[in-house]
């Protein structure tokens, strides 16, 4: 069985989506290659036909998650103002924390990344820049975009760590209000179209 050309690509995709989910929920160390492959319907030996190491899989999974989120939430080259407000609302929602949906590797893996090799950290940094570009639109200055992304990514990361649902909810609400209100406080004009963010990716959401 399975010598047709597209079979490998499908297998790889199954491995990636499974790994992305597991890594986001449990981090790098607590996910085993065996676990990923079993849930993807294969055995451990087959893994090395697709990736050369666990670390490479980790980076590719982060990238795949970011691509999927961008394709889902940003059509064309840039998000409109309306799309942007919706993204912020979904990102800073309780569903983002506990749903079956995919989770943002920026928030869910932030303190996992500092321990990883340069290749993985470069990917994460690129994805981070991609989200700043999207959230910043293009008109406002970079610092304000950075601040809002810190409230988004930091807010979700902290809300997920807290062992108190009420406090988590209050914190998400606070961050959502802050991100949305700070936007209109700094500049009235936003959105438009930009053409270049190359390999910059947005976050992960629904």
């Amino acid at each position: 069985m399975s010598w047709n050309p597209e079979h490998k690509a499908r297998s790889r995709q199954r491995i990636l989506t499974t790994a992305a989910r597991l890594f986001a929920q449990q981090g790098f160390d607590q996910v085993s290659i065996d676990q990923v492959m079993r849930e993807a319907g294969m055995t451990r030996g087959a893994f090395y036909a697709h990736f050369s190491s666990k670390s490479e899989l980790y980076g590719e999974a982060i990238l795949a998650t970011a691509h999927a989120a961008r394709d889902k939430h940003v059509q064309g080259t840039s998000a409109t103002q309306q799309q942007l407000e919706r993204i912020i609302g979904v990102y800073l929602s309780e569903e983002h924390l506990s749903g079956e949906t995919l989770h943002c590797p920026l928030a869910f893996l932030v303190s996992d990344i500092a321990q990883r090799d340069d290749q993985v950290r470069d990917i994460w940094t690129r994805v981070f820049r991609g989200l700043v570009d999207i959230v910043g639109g293009n008109g406002e200055d970079y610092s304000h975009a950075l601040e809002r992304v810190v409230l988004m990514v930091g807010g979700v990361a902290i809300a997920r760590a807290l062992n108190d649902d009420d406090l988590s909810k209050q914190l998400l609400d606070t961050c959502r209000v802050a991100v949305l209100s700070e936007r209109q406080a700094t500049s009235g004009d936003n959105h438009t179209d930009r053409a270049d963010h190359d390999e910059g990716k947005p976050q992960k959401i629904a």
Copy 2:
């Protein structure tokens, strides 16, 4: 050797400070009990005379770090306005990221905590509330204190993950300015004295 009553307390303290440093730098999984005990000048077998599990050590190390930071930076029952501004400056500094100094478990372990058991997560949540109380002073409303702590903890966590020193520095600067300026924007009066924050602990800094 070593049957005097204080010897055990000193051993425990050495284990705790060693563990706190290693955990903050490398996370729960990548630190072994053997490594902690060796660096503390003992062998693995001795560990279980002090703690019943690695997870218990993890929680106690977080708590010990928070206590040490509070004792160092907050004298009396509450921080003055001047102390507070200094704390924020030190917290959102490059030295906090890479120095030999102790690191804040809130920022360095934020996405590590979500994977741990309830006992550890409760401790982390308590320490988080402690920092909110300190940063919030007492006059301003809780939401603004939450927002500023998100900028502090989230900012440091993200700056540590980024593999680009310039961007890290810019992000820390942005967060520092935002935390300090947002404070005076919300309420003119701050600081005073409060008597109860019980087990709430501040962060970790210098």
